[in-house]
Symmetry: D2
Subunit: 463 residues, 4 copies
Amino acid sequence: MDKLHHECGVFGIYDHPDAARITYLGLYALQHRGQESAGISTSDGLRLTVEKGMGYVADVFEEERLARLGGSHAIGHVRYSTAGESSLANGQPILMDSARGPLALGHNGNLVNALRLRRELQKEGAAFVSTSDSEVILHLIARSPERSLENAIVEALRTVLGAFSILLQSPDKIIAARDPYGFRPLCLGQLDGSHVIASETCAFDLIGATYIRDIEPGEVLVVDGQGLRSITPFPQVQRAFCVFEHIYFARPDSQIFGKSVNRIRLELGRQLAREAPADADIVVPVPDSGMTAAIGYAREAGLPFELGLIRNHYVGRTFIEPKQAIRHVGVKVKLNPVRDVLEGRRVILIDDSIVRGTTSAKIVQMVRSAGARQVHLRISSPPIVGPCFYGIDTPSKQELIGANHDVEEIRRFVCADTLKYLSLTGLMTAVGEGRSQYCSACFTDKYPIPVDQEQQRSLFRSL
Amino acid sequence: MDKLHHECGVFGIYDHPDAARITYLGLYALQHRGQESAGISTSDGLRLTVEKGMGYVADVFEEERLARLGGSHAIGHVRYSTAGESSLANGQPILMDSARGPLALGHNGNLVNALRLRRELQKEGAAFVSTSDSEVILHLIARSPERSLENAIVEALRTVLGAFSILLQSPDKIIAARDPYGFRPLCLGQLDGSHVIASETCAFDLIGATYIRDIEPGEVLVVDGQGLRSITPFPQVQRAFCVFEHIYFARPDSQIFGKSVNRIRLELGRQLAREAPADADIVVPVPDSGMTAAIGYAREAGLPFELGLIRNHYVGRTFIEPKQAIRHVGVKVKLNPVRDVLEGRRVILIDDSIVRGTTSAKIVQMVRSAGARQVHLRISSPPIVGPCFYGIDTPSKQELIGANHDVEEIRRFVCADTLKYLSLTGLMTAVGEGRSQYCSACFTDKYPIPVDQEQQRSLFRSL
Amino acid sequence: MDKLHHECGVFGIYDHPDAARITYLGLYALQHRGQESAGISTSDGLRLTVEKGMGYVADVFEEERLARLGGSHAIGHVRYSTAGESSLANGQPILMDSARGPLALGHNGNLVNALRLRRELQKEGAAFVSTSDSEVILHLIARSPERSLENAIVEALRTVLGAFSILLQSPDKIIAARDPYGFRPLCLGQLDGSHVIASETCAFDLIGATYIRDIEPGEVLVVDGQGLRSITPFPQVQRAFCVFEHIYFARPDSQIFGKSVNRIRLELGRQLAREAPADADIVVPVPDSGMTAAIGYAREAGLPFELGLIRNHYVGRTFIEPKQAIRHVGVKVKLNPVRDVLEGRRVILIDDSIVRGTTSAKIVQMVRSAGARQVHLRISSPPIVGPCFYGIDTPSKQELIGANHDVEEIRRFVCADTLKYLSLTGLMTAVGEGRSQYCSACFTDKYPIPVDQEQQRSLFRSL
Amino acid sequence: MDKLHHECGVFGIYDHPDAARITYLGLYALQHRGQESAGISTSDGLRLTVEKGMGYVADVFEEERLARLGGSHAIGHVRYSTAGESSLANGQPILMDSARGPLALGHNGNLVNALRLRRELQKEGAAFVSTSDSEVILHLIARSPERSLENAIVEALRTVLGAFSILLQSPDKIIAARDPYGFRPLCLGQLDGSHVIASETCAFDLIGATYIRDIEPGEVLVVDGQGLRSITPFPQVQRAFCVFEHIYFARPDSQIFGKSVNRIRLELGRQLAREAPADADIVVPVPDSGMTAAIGYAREAGLPFELGLIRNHYVGRTFIEPKQAIRHVGVKVKLNPVRDVLEGRRVILIDDSIVRGTTSAKIVQMVRSAGARQVHLRISSPPIVGPCFYGIDTPSKQELIGANHDVEEIRRFVCADTLKYLSLTGLMTAVGEGRSQYCSACFTDKYPIPVDQEQQRSLFRSL
């Protein structure tokens, strides 16, 4: 499917007798944030043990592997990555042993000065084992002249620039940190007296933990035997919460950035109906991404909401194409039109975004061949005009249809009768209060942290 | 999840250069009809080759295995089965070599005189390799004194009693047959001039085939080099289409028994709203089974439709429970409540059926702990009072909560504020014309074909 | 390697609390008799459970699979098979459920009237699930009008013709039987008061069982709660022990046909030295098959025995050839010459047999390129002039170099300086007393049981 | 089996179109030097790609994985490791990216100052990803102020102390180096004009390469587009070739340290016969380790050489023990006595060494229970009195029976009638010229390089 992808999710728990299994569950709930690899690191107070592998959480961790992960503290990580870098060497948590002892790192986000720092560190003699930007953090900590681990971490995090919601684990501590912009979410919770930290609150729901508060932008939170200790070492900056988390990435049942994802998505749909009505019979979501917005749209427009496209969830590891091409089999493996719903109808089709446009064109075509008289495509966010440098896997600018074509050209490309996007204002209206705290660079080309050309290019190739 | 299960789906294609891969795709679209094992048999005109394995279609058939399945005719089968019988020996297609040459069989349905026939055949010297009722058919064909294969098949099918939508493959023919009651669906289509047969039309959509017509109840359809030849060898009986196919089993994007599954499900919801309104704020489906009915209910009731429960689709092969019990983790792995939707609301919760009631109780509890003020459970079918003997995997009567408790008792068990089922009349109203043609034995205890005690028991244990 | 292959080994144990695991060990010791598939069937007194899979015993049976094999009686089977038939459907034990109840069969040997019987049984309505000749036995038993299982088995075994050392398992019995010719070995032993039966005594050694006696040619031995009961239902015939078991197939540490395999192989080497001396410096075996004979040869000839070829035992599942051909890499993966031993020497190279001659040619060439001045190839058995129809996988007559070429032609083909085979008389001298009891059809073309053309052909193609 | 274990083998090839596959073959031939993990790194001139995994070479590298290893230069590594460290993180080649660009390392041997260097490097900010001593080398190179890669490597290798036969790969070079003591072998060869380097010459034989010469102790050999360039940067020291390579580790078909392994082993047997004769009937090797020495012993003693113990080579990944203990099943799975050979005989049993003595005791017992009248155990090397710190996996001193008991005590422990070891003088006589160039620390407790207590302990626990 033609979607943007999350690059990571993190989870951690301190002082729980079943730490590895709770982390397994937490990662399971965060699976939508990364499906390529999964890893868990545990501590027994003295040593760290890490297990990681390629694939889904439930496939990477079988009984025997979880059993090797003893100890009462754990951090875990799920990862999505582009093809060139999708090897196990880049999987997280990354475990390194320095003069400060062993330290494991799980990172959600992307550093924009990683390449420069890597070069500088290499000049000073550092040797890297991955192409991951995250490894820079561990080398900085290893080299910091600061005495205490906390101070070394703080110093390292002051050096890096970009998006980071991270968990670090030493034998006796877990340290959570979020960059001062707050690009990615990071939440604190409690389970049976143990502290838990997760990218999204849906992980708390699964394990039965209670949400306490967000780790604040710019906060470094130390969890150890003494309890919690919060540090705020960064100069204050304008916050830049990723608005796309609300539009598509986060699970609708999560609370992030202090707001219900589901409610905002519903509101995006309502706002879209106000801005971009259409003379039509039914409102049909592209499942699963367009579901909630379509409900909002239908409600606001007073039109029937219908499941005109069915998603097939029995997708295996690999899917073998027939030798002889079948039209659109790639999309049809995932989506099938319901002829009875679509036939003879004027359809408003709701999706959350268009990236390259190729899948949208196939879906519109599929809806038409199931008999729809008209297809009015409505997108619950503005056109994507620029890539993300803060932890979302986007194609390069050349591949983004919204960066290179106007709406009418895109409409012709996807063969819709009409095409409307939600306006930026409409998006922010739906998000509601605190709208100035969001990053919407992918829609505006206005980047909260500038990124130099070389670093930009580095995102689209392997080092 | 506490659901009834299909036991099988079948697919076949005659005279297509890419027969095995098309069958792979067809089975993929029918995956919801059986997830335990999958098999494909192909013919090159002289010999049959069969490959089968435990698991999902996309996992059983990797490139190498499909490559071994040469030939231009193919039949395939997906199978669900109860624990005791879930071995590869019971997987289908079953391939047997008799005096008539090799013959492969894929069967959807259940024979009610299989046990008696098996005993009789054994007395005559037959040796069985599986505990499957379907194997009886192959032995009957092998022993038939009839000269032609068609006649032998007809004779065998006249001997068996019960539900069968089957595909048989000889080196140069595919024979499709449906029992005279028509319990299970079976559809005929066309792809590039080749004939295709499938349990449901959604398989045609994926491969780009055109639906032609249903294989009629009591029809035996021979597909060979001469084209199609239809035989109607059975005495006419009152039809008995499985109404549960409409309620839950079939995919909503399929047409079965000449009707759109999606439209009937929508109608079930509307009818339920008429029969069983509730003073509430929102209508929430139990996903995915209650989705369409909930849309219908909300529309008829004029209440907002809301996604108050989110389904997690990243489920792996195995799921490891935490050592220390987490409340309801089994259900929460699949479903998570959206607090923002449910909090403070009076919720109408829509599901398609209640089997044992255990899952429903957990879901109601989950909705409540997410803050719902009231939970009004509405079921889009009547209480299940008896097991199915015609191809659906149901628990025994003792385990069916609807067979042993009245609605008020069930309400107390699931802890709902109110509980209402759709009435049988309401069900049939939603189904529409031809309502007398349906089997509703699981709701009425009136079985179209009587089943003796021993055969009944045989369904609930391995032979 | 260019070798003849065994087709099977069998093992059984009656009334032992650890029956499945003991059988696993027994099969492990018999692995040389079949490496393609392995299976175990167990009985808990009422039901039979079978598990089988492709591959080595230790790979097919992991902990979980053995755990499913409860019960205190077990039979097991290892199988080698030619490519065309190497599917799981042909794996053994074959389990079938007839009017006599479930029955499992493990068979070592080959029936020469299987094809005719299969046709007759099919005419009477039998349906076969495999292409294995062994399945005929189960159908015959299923159809026998005899009252008791023993009598039915006896009747079936009187009907089949050919080589069979078999184990049959009903819920409460294990029946061992050996054809009246006694082609294949079958031994009886005792372990902690339980009876054990195995193809070779090496299986007894591993499990710590004591060898009691051979199952006699023509003996049917019933093991059940009453103990042992021996029947001798066949008319007496001239015995026909497979002499190749002594030459190559059996493990040297086994006792078969009442004789030590190791001692006979040593004697074959001595006899060969007497018949076919050579003016040379050292005696070098082709490992592992020529080891013992080479020791005998060297001792008799008074020449040094040297390990001039090293066998690599770390062979994995698959071996990937380099793109660019490396000379003889196929043989070199298994054997490597020891230059220090061979250089400048006149070498007597000992192997047990030559089948197609291709591998021998490569080995002679390898020895020469390691610097040997002369290579005198000596074979510790006569030329193979005909295929075996009694349970050994041989190529067809056209492929047997000994059937189509005289010794001088073979010498030229393998590029040896001299080539000598052991004479038939020499072979029988080495075997010692009872020499008239042996089948040497592959050396003489004199078959103890005639085999018709069609049956012969059936060995070399799949049915 | 109670054996010492190699820790590694290396292989490399420069400028060959099929570099990865040739390396695969080379590692395959070196499999006896490490069976726990295998890895290959290739270069296309710009980038390095590494693939590694746990298990045998032929199991780690399937077609797809080899296909990912493009490029015309490759190095590979096989590794044995003790349980605590046997994770993939410790697998080699280790690939690290420093200011000098990417560099891959494969190391055979063990550094005795690794722990101290690791601490110093960590103090300077280095972060380690493994517990392997080898990683120290890469960090030293990364930090070296030297301009050229060669000089940095030389500087790093001057800093480390201990045994190293290593291969380093940069995008355009392969650098081979051997410590000045020359503990481990390293050989140079040629294949179709490409240079190849391997731990033993048996790797050359398999790929059809020609042995040129050994990499000299203290030599650093640079292979690049300009050809070969040899540097000798170390002060000269007394050579210390590992004598155990001759006794047990190396393959008998290899030439190492300029000598034929097979010839020395034969000589060890002869010398043992001279030093420690016995009044007996036959000479029996413990296969495979005692084979060649037993041939030598038998020849010198004028006694018959007999295969009284058979080794089972069909060992799978895992082996499941029976629930109910079977005496010595662990040993019997690998070895089986040949009763016919042993019964009533006075047996001289030849093995290469005794480590803990437990296996020897079981083998002696096994030989006795097969009927041997007397068992005279002869060991073709002196008692092992100290662990190796230079790349052999030995148990700690406390576990070495030879370090804690005199020969008579050991004899009683293994229950032999007599027990004799080869003397150190006898060992050196067998080795022949250059005997002063050998390390025999494990027999003498005289270590060529002193090892401090902490480093010693570090060998027997994970860091």
